[in-house]
Amino acid sequence: MRNPFRSEAEAFRLLLGFVVAAALIVIGSRINVWVGVAVAVVEAGVVAWVVLFRGRKERPIMQAPPPHPPGERRILVIANETVGGRALLSEIKQRAAGARTSVRVVTPALNSPVKHWTSDEDEARAAAQQRLDKSLAAIRSAGIEATGEVGDGDPLQAIEDALRTFAPDELIISTHPEGRSHWLERGVVSGARERFALPVTHVVVDLDAELKSPTGY
């Protein structure tokens, strides 16, 4: 559901809705008090139904990154627990081959809902920063220029924020395999394809399999 006071036009439409709703209640109550009460209950029910079931979903706004100086390939990587995965590093290396490449890694500071709403995010940001530092070290050791930042807890918001300052040519989203990935369950990859006007690559990192394999990084 959208906030009805998000813009002047929406607040004006809300006012018109209130005028109609109040008029119906008054007409009902003129017939009989209980008719007025019934009208109010029905109206409240309709509003609840609209809010809960028919609420207009926020339409995604296609975001395009601003242009950046030519002669450089820019890759934005969004990953959290899988940020140090071998599959991800290999994908970055492959894309960086043969061109001057700059990589920006964003690790969202994932937090529990309670901690999020109480603004208790120090721990989440510190953990994300640790993972980010390890990942940056691994990418730089492969000879690729890389910077990074801890982003918003919402991965799509973190991408949108990074788009404004980094201007990437492409986006790589790294997740756990299906069935273990909260991001896939929440439709982060499909959401990113819908919302951002740039190529999106989805890399699946199976950390368990990589740990068992003899060549870990």
């Binding site: 002047e8 607040a11 918001q157």
Partner: protein
């Protein structure tokens, strides 16, 4: 966890902080009005008199109805002003703002006159106290809204707004519509029901 320096600013870019601010402000206003409505309905249920209000009190339904029409019309002119500046029509913005301000002022002056002629005062009964409490609280909001509208009108004549930059109109408009929504609820519950 301690910091040697203030943590970097990190805020969501999805919605303007100004809009978030007015939304939170209106949220607090709804709670304030909610407490006044609670007192009004409590009084009405506890007294349980028929007809309401208890004789000899009479509510000026007709005058308040005309006043309601004036206030709702001011929302239309406010919306016209906002749409005008979005299309780059400065004359429309200025005319819309002047009309909105005048209509709002008419509403407030009519309410003041109504208070003088109504025939009862705040300390007479609990009905009188809640009546003046609710309508007076709304009147205070109209006064604040008029102050904002006056600033917006002056700025519109000084050319401060453009199709790209009209946040001052947008936010003030949201507040004015909120004031009108609250009046619809006050008029319906206090005067009509």
């Amino acid at each position: 966890m301690g910091y040697d320096y203030p943590p970097p600013i990190h805020f969501s870019s999805r919605i303007s902080p100004v809009i978030v601010g007015i939304f939170l402000f209106i949220g607090s206003e709804i709670m304030l009005f909610g407490s006044f409505f609670t007192v009004y309905f409590f009084d009405r249920v506890v007294n349980h008199t028929h007809p309401w209000p208890p004789p000899p009190y009479e509510r000026p339904v007709f005058v308040a109805g005309v006043n309601t029409l004036i206030l709702v019309t001011s929302s239309f002119t406010m919306h016209w002003a906002t749409q005008s500046i979005k299309r780059g029509n400065r004359a429309g913005l200025q005319a819309g703002m002047v009309l909105t301000f005048l209509l709002g002022l008419t509403f407030l002056l009519t309410q003041v006159i109504e208070y003088h002629r109504i025939g009862f005062n705040t300390s007479d009964t609990s009905f009188a106290a809640t009546f003046f409490g609710l309508t007076g609280l709304h009147g205070c909001h109209v006064f604040v809204g008029l102050t904002i509208l006056l600033a917006m009108t002056i700025r519109s004549f000084r050319g401060h707004f453009s199709p790209e930059h009209h946040h001052g109109i947008e936010v003030g408009g949201i507040y004015w519509h909120f004031v009108d929504v609250m009046w619809i609820i006050v008029y319906t519950t206090v005067y009509l029901l």
